[in-house]
Point group: C2
Chain length 326, copies 2
């Protein structure tokens, strides 16, 4: 099998320069966040923005709706852009929008961001009652059309219930393990185990708040965490979800955390002393650093095939199985 | 004090005939539901519809924003129409819409309908984790501008937490007591007690699913329930919230229950065998029957003053205290 290179989550301040760097880094596909707290109409505006980019940069990027689109992109040296949503705000209160958004090319949707949604509970709420009545219905509808359930920002019980209730594998596109770094956004062994047993994917994040040691975390430490996670999850359901937010101003991380739900400032994983985006570790500053991850993984003992799996082939197999009707 | 007649909740299929019946029944004010699952823009369309009715029927109805508007309406024989929302869908995920909707004349907003909302939990969910992070912020903002928190359809813990967290009295505009009729929508003694201690109002409902015996419930039984409730709540925080849904087709009760959250049918308080609106008890079929309630209340021992309080003066005092900035 060819060695595909796929990033399971980015939210950059997109530009010609970044699209070029995707090419330089050998990225065949990137799952990009196209909306946080946007409602349906605002999400459509963001799709329109991507359509303009696809028109302007046809030599570099193409809209990816299927694994076949990723294979086709690789053949001609382009990067397939796969759309995803980090909150369910784009479906508003309307289950019918699940199918509409899938038709528009959305392939991942988080059931929650940090707070309670209409569907489930985010990891910053004090209580986590699990999937709501609407949440159960929406998971069924997502399963039907092939829109992947993403629980990266969700709370423990909600995540376990999503894995249980979903008849198709779910994804945690961008998070690490709490045994390694007990951040609120990282995942428990119980979740890792349930995720693995159900055929789900974990995308390891290089966002400093998810890393042990933050911005100073070393590549070898990150790769050792991946190696240790194979003891719980094996090697075929692991990928990368870098959570790269390249070139974004700090106002964007404030929007992610605060949206429109409070008149105060919520610092989320940051703090009043460090409210903005933290600096990236020096071994992963942009897409050009993607190839360097291979050496790191080989360095902790992964074989060539396993390394190719983690850096893209595992995501591709997941796309093959989960981006269309069951 | 004059004897005001106020209904704390109606959602009729509004018409010239119903507005005339409000006059015949002596109604000085009616809190009307203007939105269930409508988003902000759709709610504004509903306000526009009311603006047309105010233009067409100026001899009968007037928009009521304050208790003073109700007093002025009474003087000229009109009915003041007070706007309210049965779900927080109209504020979408945007705390800034609380003030905007208050400016547009909204005076009551339920934090939930039957399901989990972004703010709190409805009485049909299996779990009730109480107020969410956004729910606490929104209650504070409603307190600031003078938009009354209504917990008629909310679950137990959420209701108790709303009473506790709100710095101003809340309302349960349309529900009865569960000691009398243990429907999921009726309220526990704990809630009645906390509501009374905090200065809140309970509006007794004549919607058959909230009545012991349903459509066959007798006026005397209904009034005995009110009399017994004074043992917990006293007499000055009780009112009527008839929940009259006059002339509505059954498609409307389906919209109330199902909204856009499921592709199935949710029967709510009804059932597959009885999915529609139940018939009203023969002693309260429309606004013209409002005066008959006075005889019922006097019949179970209420004084003239107490009766006037329950049929309107208590709501008026509540409007005086709670429809503007604190």
């Amino acid at each position: 099998m060819s060695a595909f290179r796929i990033d399971g989550l980015q939210y950059a301040n997109w530009s010609a320069g970044i699209f070029d760097q995707m090419g330089q880094g050998g990225l065949d596909a990137v799952h990009v966040t196209i909306a946080y707290h946007e409602n349906f109409r605002e999400t459509v505006l963001n799709i329109e923005k991507w359509n303009r980019w696809f028109e302007r940069f046809p030599h570099r990027i193409v809209h990816g709706r299927t694994a076949a689109d990723v294979r086709a992109a690789k053949k001609v040296g382009k990067t397939a852009i796969i759309f995803g949503l980090q909150t369910p705000a784009p479906i508003e209160d309307d289950i019918g929008l699940v199918e509409i958004l899938h038709t528009l090319g959305i392939r991942f949707m988080q059931l929650t961001y940090n707070n309670q949604s209409l569907l489930a509970t985010g990891c910053y709420e004090a209580e986590d009652p699990g999937l709501t009545r609407m949440g159960r219905e929406v998971v069924e509808e997502m399963n039907r059309v092939g829109l992947v359930v993403d629980m990266s920002h969700s709370a423990e019980r909600s995540t376990l219930e999503a894995i249980e209730h979903s008849t198709r594998p779910i994804a945690i596109t961008h998070a690490n393990t709490s045994y390694w770094h007990p951040a609120r956004r990282n995942k428990s062994d119980d979740i890792l185990r349930a995720l693995a047993e159900s055929g789900g994917m974990l995308g390891f994040s290089m966002y400093p708040h998810h890393l042990k040691g933050g911005s100073d975390c070393m590549l070898a430490e990150f790769c050792e965490m991946i190696a240790r996670t194979t003891e719980i999850m094996g090697t075929t359901q692991l990928g990368i979800g870098s959570d790269l937010c390249q070139d974004q101003p700090d106002s964007i991380v404030e929007w992610m955390r605060v949206g429109r739900w409070t008149k105060k400032i919520d610092y989320g994983e940051g703090s009043a002393a460090a409210p903005g985006f933290p600096p990236q570790p020096d071994w992963f500053r942009d897409n050009r650093d993607f190839p360097g991850l291979a050496a790191g993984l080989r360095g902790v003992g992964f074989s060539k095939d396993e390394t190719d799996g983690i850096l893209g082939n595992n995501w591709l197999a997941f796309f093959d199985a989960n981006f269309g009707p069951a």
